[in-house]
């Protein structure tokens, strides 16, 4: 029983960290319509930045500044935000596909730097000894897992409500206006590029924060954690949840991570150890097909559609009331 609670806490922590990345992506894609297929790069930037700032001094590589964890998180957000802003400034005046290719390139380059700049990133061996919040509780796994879950929950809630607030604020309305009808928004005197760079930067900062949280949660990072498959997972989470809805982003993340982890457990039970790698690739095939099928039959995902319908109903009700009044 206690094991189960411990596993549940561990599972939810991972799922919520994914949901943070998905929330960042939802701001970029769902709200603003910016197509980022290199989000693994921004997550990696956050993880490495925070690790460099907070790990103890290490003779083998640069840095290891031993700063508090909160400083690491803040640094991750700043560096991730700047990286995203630079990417956006270079490409957002062009057709949206260019942004996709550029972000893909950013992820490739970040991966290369993580792998080859040994002095900075520890190369293929990664960075260990990343301080963990409540590290002193590691003796009692249950307490440790639960307190980590509490931290991640708190951060997710803060980001969630901040994003909900942002999307209803005038700033968020400008983004939506730009997404829906760029010409109209520009004719009202809004600079499309300026707002989009801002949205892209904030989204990138949230992704970097998620990367930092993950790094401090596991205590060890390596270049292999940030392969294109991460980008793919998060996109599926957002599409399943329904792009444009923050609630959908969170629920989609938990759901897809549940399917992913569940099918992983299933293959490890069903297949012999030497067949595991093949089974894992079959798992990716299944999720890829799932993404395509959802795009075909329910492009709005679980929540994107329902919210719109509710909104439509409310609008109809409002229209009916005003009609009966007159």
């Amino acid at each position: 029983m206690i094991d189960l609670i411990g596993y549940g806490a561990f599972f939810l922590t991972t799922a919520l960290i994914f949901s943070l990345v998905t929330l960042g992506l939802n701001l970029q894609w769902g709200l603003t319509g910016l197509f980022n297929v290199g989000l693994a790069g921004f997550v990696a930037i956050g993880a490495y930045t925070s690790a460099l700032l907070t790990t103890p001094d290490d003779a083998a590589r640069l840095g290891g500044f031993g700063l508090p964890i909160l400083v690491g998180w803040l640094g991750a957000m700043i560096v991730g935000g700047i990286a995203a802003a630079l990417t956006g400034m270079a490409t957002l005046r062009l057709r949206s596909d260019y942004l996709a290719i550029t972000t893909f390139g950013v992820a490739v380059v970040v991966q290369l730097v993580a792998l080859n700049a040994q002095k900075l990133t520890g190369g293929p061996f990664g960075i260990g000894f990343i301080p963990r919040p409540f590290g002193s509780l590691a003796e009692t796994p249950l307490l440790f897992n639960l307190s980590n879950l509490a931290v991640v929950c708190a951060v997710t809630l803060v980001v969630f409500f901040a994003l909900e607030h942002l999307s209803r604020s005038p700033w968020g309305r400008v983004l939506k206006a730009l997404r829906e009808d760029e010409r109209a928004a520009i004719s009202l005197g809004k600079s499309a590029r300026f707002y989009r760079v801002q949205a892209f930067a904030v989204g990138g900062a949230i992704m970097a924060l998620a990367g930092a949280l993950q790094a401090h949660f596991t205590g060890f990072i390596a270049p292999d954690n940030y392969l294109p498959i991460l980008t793919f997972q998060v996109w599926v989470m957002l599409i399943v949840g329904g792009s444009g809805s923050n609630l959908g982003a969170v629920i989609g993340s938990i759901l897809v991570w549940g399917i992913w982890a569940g099918s992983g457990t299933l293959t490890s039970v069903l297949f012999a150890p030497e067949q595991q790698a093949r089974a894992a690739s079959l798992q990716i095939v299944a999720i890829g097909v799932m993404l395509c099928v959802i795009l075909l039959i329910r492009p709005n995902g679980l929540f994107g559609d329902r919210l719109q319908r509710l909104r439509g109903k409310r609008a109809k009700l409002a229209a009916g009331e005003s009609g009966s009044d007159s």
């Binding site: 093949r278 095939v285 795009l295």
Partner: protein, 302 residues
Amino acid sequence: MSLQFVVDGLLTGSMIGLGAIGVTLTYSILRFSNFAHGDFMAWGTYATLAVVSAIGATFGKVAPIAPLSFGWPLLVAMVVGMAFTALLALLLDRVLFSRLRSQGQAIIVVMASFGASMALRSLLEFTFTSRPTYFSRAIQIAMPVGFGIRITPDQIALLLLTAVLVLGVHLLMTRTQTGRAMQALSQNAALARIVGIDVASVVRVTWVIGGALACVAGVMIGILVQIRPFMGFDMLLPMFAAAILGGIGSIPGAVLGGLIIGLAEAGAVQLIGAEWRAAVSFIILMAVLFVRPIGLFGVRER
């Protein structure tokens, strides 16, 4: 600095350029970045490999054509592989892309191609495992051709094949009715429809050319380097960079862009080391987007 990088660069550039033709055609005619294009390349190569093994099983060991490392089975298999890849592209368009295209949101199609890319690649990995394979393990002796440059017979043959294919596609695009229809559709889709161009057939030709050339590029990689499920995915960034550098929609541009990126990569390997090779296409891509987003031969969208 040895001049050997020129040969290496031209060869890498040929592979990138052949792949970039498909990317640039899909982008300009169907209006979306096809992230699955690299996986067409890998699928074509594995299909070719399968046919080569089948021929080997039927006819026994076939001696290679004099100086080359491969014989007629590979040539036959490549033609079959090209047809297979073209069919794969058409099939994927039928079940996925065309349906999403009709919804009118280009970016949804890109996303679907991203998903299809993951599924296609992992399916290859499932079937053939991620262990690299080869068409032939024979090692060729490189001939010196002066200036400290060495080249193998295979490499000469593949450079010639690239030249012939590129010339062929260029003639097709400029001299035939289909080619002119493709150009018309890429320049102004609405107008092209009004004058009665058969859009469906142009779309089919686009997939067939792109798929077949991707297969050839993949087979080249297989002959010169190795065959892996990830071989095409790793080419994605160089191919897009080449297509954008050359100017979207331009076939000579895609090939020239590919050659420039190939030469830059080979040069970078000599100057700063092989591990940074993949960053070269990204740097060129960013430079093009900053300085001249329409590329070398691009036409501003009308």
